[in-house]
Every structure is written in structure tokens, then in C-alpha cells.
């Protein structure tokens, strides 16, 4: 299992990697009724933020705990760090109560990143579900700055219901401005919804990309990714051009505590972004 090949370490990291850097909340934005985005700025005004799309930070709420949250912002912006998370447990619920000016601890960035140096001229299909769009947003910003690198870019996004769709405004903007095909579907619709209803899988089957010359990036609930991978396989996309972002609980994010072990690797350092052929022996195996 290869360890991280590229990793930018934030400046000012002390010698003990278990000690967080202090940041302040700059802005809190509610995305849906249970999902929010925090914009953070470093307390040390000179520190430059640097990360690669797909990486995550461990965020610490004083006295409550620390959890891994994907970085969801624009990697070209070095003054503000953005994280989007669902409010699901003790720590994220406490995070949701933070206000501008409050402090928060940050360790990272950690983990592997989405592939950024693919050959020119490929199609790119991005398949996401629910909160899974958050770790993919940085790669979308990155791609928009290099649109000519790819032929077709297709973004497929599944959400629970119309009110749970993330980043609606940005999706519209990218669709219009950057020649990005966006198809959104929901599991259940309210009356008045005139978009797709159903799961992401049939969208994958019909999406306009060339399977022999495509890279696929997937992030969402594991069961959604399993079915999406089956569709990609049916269409002939090879295993070494499919990338998935896996998730596990973490304690140290340094490769020691063992909690995030997933088969032969650690999600904190061999992932979270995996090329599919690296995990094909354990992917989908029950309780691995």
C-alpha cells in the first residue's frame, strides 16, 4: 500500500502532531436543515492555508472532542479554510453551535487526494450522494480553473429530497458557465419538484461519457458507491480509473491508533481517496 505521495503541511505545525493549531470561525452558513459550512481563518494571521482536494482535517471543539471533516473549499484560496459537515454526533452538534469569533482546533491536512494529473482530453464523471458532494467540491473548483484539460465533465448527484441538495447556487453557476453537465436526482420528491426522482445508478448507466477514456470520482454512502461501481464496470470503465473516497472514524489521523483501518490500509493515510484496484479485494465485503 503506497503511503501519501503529495502532502502539503500547513506552516507553523509544531513538532507534536497531536496538538491542534488554533483557528477562528469566520462564517457559519447553513446549507440544509442538518448540514452547515464553517469558514475558518488561522489565528496566526500569516499562516497560509494549503491542501489538496480530497484531504481532510481533524477539527477540535474545546473540551468536546475531535472529528475528521473533509475540506470543502477552493484550494486556490489560501486565507480561508472551509469545511462542510452534517450535524450527526456530539462533536458535530457542538460544532454547529459555534459562532463567528469562536476558536476551533485544526490538525491536518491529512490523507490522499483526488487524482489531479490525469492525461489531457479524458472525460470525467463525478458521482456523488448526500454529504459526499462536500469532499468533491474542491476538485470541482480545481477543474473549473483548468476546464480545457477535460473533454466532457459530468456531475451526477443524488440527495434525499430537494431541500437536501447541497451547493445549489454553485451547481447552477458551474452548469451555466463552465460547460459542466449536471444531473441531480432525489430519493423522494415534494410536489412541485420537476427534476429527476430515483437513485443515481440509472443516471450512471445513461451518462454521456466515453468509458474507454474516462476517469470516475465517487463519494457518498458506501452502498451508493457499490451500485455506482457496478454500473461503471458494466459500461467498461477500468478499475484503475475509478476513485472512491472512503470513510471511517478516526482518533489520531496519523496512522497509529488503528481505528480507521480498512483492510490492508489506514483510511487516514492510504485514503480517504483510493483508486479502486487498491481496495477491490475488500470493497463491499461485509464487516471488513
Amino acid at each position: 500500500m503506497a503511503t501519501i505521495t503529495e502532502q502539503d503541511v500547513p506552516q507553523g505545525l509544531n513538532t507534536d502532531p497531536m496538538i491542534p493549531q488554533l483557528y477562528r470561525i469566520d462564517r457559519v452558513r447553513d446549507e440544509t436543515d442538518d448540514t452547515f459550512t464553517l469558514s475558518l481563518v488561522p489565528e496566526n494571521g500569516e499562516a497560509k492555508i494549503s491542501f489538496l482536494p480530497g484531504q481532510f482535517n481533524m477539527l477540535y471543539v474545546f473540551g468536546t472532542g475531535e472529528v475528521p471533516i473533509s475540506i470543502s473549499g477552493n484550494p486556490a484560496v489560501t486565507s480561508v479554510l472551509e469545511h462542510t459537515t452534517r450535524s450527526v454526533g456530539i462533536v458535530t452538534k457542538a460544532m454547529g453551535l459555534l459562532k463567528p469569533g469562536d476558536q476551533i482546533g485544526v490538525r491536518g491536512p491529512y490523507g490522499s487526494h483526488w487524482p489531479l494529473n490525469e492525461e489531457n482530453g479524458r472525460d470525467l464523471v463525478i458521482i456523488s450522494g448526500g454529504i459526499g458532494l462536500a469532499p468533491l467540491r474542491p476538485v470541482l473548483y480545481f477543474l473549473m480553473a483548468q476546464r480545457e484539460k477535460y473533454r466532457k465533465i459530468v456531475l451526477l448527484y443524488g440527495a434525499r429530497a430537494p431541500e437536501d441538495i447541497l451547493f445549489k447556487k454553485e451547481l447552477e453557476r458551474w452548469r451555466g458557465k463552465f460547460d459542466l453537465e449536471v444531473q441531480v436526482t432525489v430519493d423522494r420528491a415534494a410536489s412541485g419538484w420537476r427534476g429527476n426522482v430515483g437513485v443515481v445508478t440509472p443516471l450512471v448507466a445513461r451518462a454521456p461519457f466515453d468509458p474507454s477514456n474516462t476517469v470516475a470520482l465517487l463519494c457518498g454512502p458506501e452502498v451508493m458507491m457499490r451500485f455506482a461501481v457496478m454500473e461503471l464496470q458494466k459500461r467498461g470503465v477500468p478499475h484503475d480509473r475509478i476513485y472512491l473516497s472512503m470513510e471511517r472514524n478516526m482518533r489520531c489521523a496519523l496512522g497509529y491508533c488503528g481505528h480507521c483501518q480498512y483492510g490492508p490500509g489506514f483510511v487516514c493515510k492510504d485514503g480517504p481517496v483510493y483508486r479502486f484496484d487498491q481496495i477491490v479485494s475488500v470493497f463491499g465485503k461485509s464487516e471488513v
Binding site: D34, G129, G130, I131, G158, A159, R160, D164, T185, D187, R188, A189, S191, W193, R194, G195, N196, V197, G198, V199, T201, P202, R206, G220, P221, V223, M224, F227
Partner: protein, 154 residues
């Protein structure tokens, strides 16, 4: 190039490897049709004597639920097939099908096709085989929707 009815049918993935000898009969059962936006293609309870290939547009499969009103459970778009209730008795639609946009389709005379399938079991098997795949795919999708995988509590 003129897209004849026969060429459209032949090129559709559903009819891949369909025996030649049955193709002209199938083509005979089909005709082009267009629906405006917000049009009910069929209603729950109507006799299920057709099925449709959607060539463009979007169709919503909906159920009317007391207190919730009409609720979409699935949408279908270009290249997808609408309607399988013609296959088994009592041959009645279980849902409403309503267009969300202007929609073009091929409509197949299922009543005629049913009769022919009874006579010619080879044809019957070819049709059922293909509809079985469509139904299993819908079942998989429905199960995933039921699991509420993006939901609030896991």
C-alpha cells in the same frame, strides 16, 4: 439519414440481439407519439394495453397519497422504458404516468403483442426476458430509495 421506425427500434439497447424474424412484427406494433407538458399518459386503474420507449422529455411515475397528494416515486427520461403492467393480469396500470416536459415516445400496442406472445412462445420469451431486466433494475433502485441512505439517522 432518415430514422425509420425500424432503425430506431433496432438500435435501442432493449432490442439488442432480438431475433430478426420478430422485428418486423414488433415494428408493426409501434408508432410515434408526442405528449405536451403536464399530460397524463395513463392513469392508475386504466387498462394497461401499451408500453412506451421515451425518445425525449421526462415522465413522472406518481401515486396519489391521501394528505400528501400526488407523489412522484420515479422519473424516466430519454432511452428509458415506461410501463410493464401490460405483462401480467389484470393488465391495469398501478400508477399514474404524467409528463413533466414535452415528451416524444414510441408507443407499442401491447394488447396485440400479448396475443401474439401467447401464440408464439419464442417471441414471448424474448420479450419477457427483457422486461424482467427492467423490472429487476427498478426493484434494485426502489430498494435503495427505501434504505434512505442519505437520511438523517443511521
Amino acid at each position: 439519414m432518415i430514422h425509420t421506425l425500424e432503425s430506431v427500434i433496432k438500435e435501442h439497447p432493449f432490442f439488442q440481439d432480438f431475433p430478426e424474424e420478430h422485428l418486423s412484427f414488433i415494428t408493426g406494433c409501434a408508432k410515434n407519439v408526442q405528449f405536451p407538458e403536464k399530460h397524463f399518459i395513463f392513469l392508475e386503474g386504466d387498462p394497461a394495453d401499451e408500453f412506451y420507449f421515451i425518445r425525449g422529455g421526462m415522465v413522472s411515475i406518481e401515486l396519489v397519497i391521501p394528505q400528501l397528494g400526488p407523489t412522484t416515486v420515479q422519473t424516466l427520461g430519454e432511452g428509458e422504458i415506461l410501463g410493464w403492467s401490460w405483462v401480467s393480469p389484470p393488465y391495469r396500470w398501478h400508477f399514474n404516468a404524467k409528463t413533466l416536459k414535452r415528451t416524444r415516445a414510441l408507443v407499442f400496442d401491447a394488447k396485440c403483442l400479448r396475443a401474439k406472445c401467447e401464440e408464439d412462445h419464442d417471441l414471448g420469451y424474448e420479450m419477457l426476458k427483457r422486461f424482467a431486466s427492467i423490472i429487476t433494475a427498478r426493484l434494485d433502485a426502489t430498494r435503495l430509495q427505501l434504505l434512505d441512505i442519505y437520511g438523517h439517522d443511521h
